[in-house]
Amino acid sequence: MDGNYGGLNDGVDESWGPAFNTSINENDGIDNDGDGQVDEAGEGARIDQYQGKDLPWVPQPDNFKDLFQTGVSMTNNVSISASGDKVYSRFSVTNMDQTGMVPNTDISRTSVNFSFGAELSKKLTTEGNITYTRTHSDNRPGTGYAGDNVVQQFIWSGRQIDINDLRDKWQTRDEYGNVYNWLHSYQNNPFFTLYKNLKPQTRDRINGYYAVKYQLTDWLRIKARVGDDLYRESRKRIFAKETLDYPNGRFDEDLLYVNEMNSDVLVTADKTFGDLQITVNAGANHMTRRYERNSVTVQALTVPEIYNVSNADGNPINDVFTSDKVINSVYGMATLAFKDFLYVDITGRNDWSSTLPVGSNSYFYPSVNLSMVLSEAITLPDAISYVKIRGGWAKVGSDTDPYQLNAVYNANTAWAGIPSFSLSNVLPPTALTPEFTSSLEVGLDLKFFQNRLGIDATYYQAATTNQILPVDAAPSTGYTSQLINAGKIDNSGVELMVSLAPVRTKNFGWDIMVNFAKNKSVVRELPEGVDAIRLGRYWSLDLEAREGEAYGNFRGFSAKYDANGNIILDGGLPSREATPTVLGTITPDWIGGIRNTLRYKNASLTFLVDVRKGSDIFSMTYMFGRYAGVLQESLEGRGSADEVKNGYVYEGVNADGTPNTTPMDAETWNVFYYQSLGGHDRSIFDGSFVKLREVNLTYDLPRGFLSKTPFGKLSVGAYGRNLWLIFSNLPHIDPETAFGNSNGIQGFEFGQTPSARTIGFTVDATF
């Protein structure tokens, strides 16, 4: 392998071939390679490689680990408060600086907050708050199935690659004039990617509000409030010249501007009639949201390393999009409290949204909540300190994004100056109505033995109807998706929290907190002509909501198995079911956690163990890792020279039920199973885990000790997060690393930066 398509495995980012260190035998006491010495490890198998000719064929067990460095994150916060008789103000600055675990990546965040209030007269008060936050990174690491995610090339990889050699020489060139690397197709030198193909981003955000309150009478007041949240963000993705995917260089730049403004007036009446206290609110809200995006893509550079539009070779592609949205609302709330034991809350709100069709753009949604503190009303045994029952019903309405109602033509890049347009791929809705979620919730809150045992239980049921969703359309309709009101989806579940304080003395305390939650979702109805809503898709595996099934099932292709669970082979290779079937679900059976807090005098120690049962994950790291032969599991059938040469009889049965006898080489088997077959079943894993999530140790310096210092309070602490994956069924990766939490990408995993074990120290001082 010389990086120029000679040698072994060259031009391929896979890891097949002879075993490492297989000298003809390094331990046979013979000079196999004839260099006058008895062979040392690897000497018997010397192979042309990218670093040079005739080099030992040896593994690099730490080639992945050595890519990373220790990331450092530092957070500092200072705040100053000042208050007088009629005014107060508070000013704080927080700064966070982080250098990444992936080399040459960082992020920093600085936020400045100022809040104030003043009593202008007995009846008139005013208050405000403004926060400025700047988030900046010179380079963010790439993610997902993309060449700029450097983790990708440890899945598509050769295990002989020496990452430290690539780090040392990425700025040099090989004898062919190429950027020094282990191959010249598919993967860039990871350090070239990290130091040349930068992804800087900056966001400046200002949010705050200003409010005036006027007390009309002792029971009636009016409040006016204007709030605004606006940010400007720039993001750039750079590909230097000589990047394999973009040999001529490329960059994309997005500028975003978002401004959401809310104006409210609220009239509040507050009156007590004997044991009954009534609060009534009536208000109105006007919301405007402005969105602007200005994107430019430069597809090739004239001069290297200048990432300015003026340096474009050919026409840059511009995409400008602006949108406006308005929601007007009126709302009312009433709270009734009787004798500190019975509480009733009633709300109602009507929204008018500009995004829905005229005629169905007005929607009303109410709620009712009731709670009773029984322990206040009736006398209970001493052991029972507190009993509260609660119940509620709520409905929430929602709209959609702007401009969804009409089909438009999208501009393509002009063909030789001739404007080119295509009709949008999204079939607009014929009659869109607001979506609603209504939910019913009952709960019980119990405390025993002077609050040393607490139980808080909740049961809920929620139904989402007419959810506004873009769902896939059959491409043969001419469209890839249609925006619809999508049927009915039910959710129900329980949440349980138990707190226990087994020991509570002056010097020593022990608190235990247990959490448990379980949710079940069912897709009740979908509209006519829609079999399923596709939530996400990678490599032909769909994440779906299908009528009668749970929300978020994986549907894909499985290899064929007989009744006894044996894989059915055809000519020594697996065969596949013709149609996709359900292969897993992303919803966990339940999640839970136990937090223990031990306190001794001024020191306290907390540790949290989290548990998740269920929640399947489609590991594309595993799928491509098997294809590329980089994973330990791919060693089945590569165990001996004989197996490599003559093949290996994989376990399975023929169509007639007889055991398989056809030998197959491991590369063919793995490439076929994990790519050609298009089977997903063996790359979907149970994502259950038990984790030591957090350990926290803090120590408050004794007040007596501090009395001679300027500190009012001083505490020091150490913490560790994500410390130990105690149990997992998922090979090679952290079950909690998946693409993200939005519905469409939950449950999919590929090439995540490994989750970090964080260890930190805190100093908290008050003057």
């Binding site: 006027y214 753009n361 401009y403 063909w415 491409p475 043969s476 076929f672």
Partner: protein, 471 residues
Amino acid sequence: MMKKYLYKLFLLVLVVAVAPACTDDFAELNTNPNAPTDVPSTNILVSAITNSISRIHGADMNMTYGGLWAQHYAKIQYIDEDYYSYRTANMDAHWTGLYVGPLLDLQTIIEKEDTPANMKAAAMTLKAYIFSVITDMWGDIPYFSALKGGEAIQPVYDSQEDIYKDLVVQLEQAAGMFDEGGDDLGAGDVLYGGDISKWIKFANSLRMRLLNRMSGVNPAAKATLESMINSGASIISSNDDNASLVYVGDVSYSNPLYANKHYSGRNDHASSKTMVDMLLSLNDPRIAVYAEPTKNDPSVYNGQPNGSVQPGDFGTISLIGEAFRDDPEGPSHVITYAEMLFIKAEVMNDKQAYLDGIAAAMEMYDLTPSADYLSAAGAAFDTDYIQAIANQRWIALFGNGCEAFSEYRRTGYPSTIQEVPGSVYPGKGVPYRFAYATTEFTTNGSNLNTAISSQGIDDSGLFGAKMWWAK
């Protein structure tokens, strides 16, 4: 001071309290200012022409599937598709990329009330072309109820036979609808620059291609074909009439095989040994156009055998010729004069048309067949004219892999195209078809499953019943 605040406060109260009632401007507010709801047809036409032709002749559909399985090209890296191991995502992209985009755009032009006759006829011609490619690749497909949006959200699959019968009718109507003195197609006609007479030739030529393809299973088609030839229908009659898309050559619109190599940096394909050996055995001068000599020995042409392991040394293999891989403007030929001559030769058993076809095909590369070449070709014709024509057509179609794949499946020639040694479906032969898009499983499952079972398609997705026209 207090009064001033109060005044402002109540002004705000008034504005906010009254505002909810103000929804009058909502329709205007929710009108997209970024994109038009109507554009001139010519600006849609340019998109339909360029997006469909560049896809059908592209690095995926042509170089990695149709043309690969027709053994014009062979893979030298990531051999998967050459082992008939297709990527389902690619099949999805081919299917979606033709229905959504080009076909919908053409349907929009056809359905617009004010579309003039020539524009409508041009859209009908292109639509028939694209549908013919889809059915040739997949067999039964949604046709009559396709492209209807919400009116048929799950379009049924129609039989290839019914589709073919309608396509030739549509093309006949389109040819008749064109009026040389009629409306101008505008700047968007990047295929013929507004020459309506050439559009008529294109529509008729395409109709002849389809009639010829169905002639083996539909005697009426053969009769129509003969009468078209005998009556001298206006068809492509020189290379100037070819339906060929010449690319702009810029970073957005370059020849797709050029862009694959130069903008995407991919070099996964070489010349197929099947093609190189055929050209060498015929002493065909097109070898120097279709293939590169090997890097290690510039006097040698050596094709890569399809579906074999990656070559140990790329320097020993002939890559695809510069005219196809290194010319940013290099044209994609949809249908050519040579094809017309080969159809005539086949239908009428006309040796002269066959020899003229060879010359026309070579003329596209500024070559002329030598006397020796023609006499050897003539001898081959005399031995087995069907095979001789099929072999020459296959050579002439280099660069138009999907059409070559269809003609191979119809005729079974060249006979040197055989199942590849590394086939993942050993013993089944060369694939009969493309696999259906998996997106259709989720969105149109029951119709798709009916189509799969009625065509007897097996689990691989590639085998089962042959194309209707190949039976």
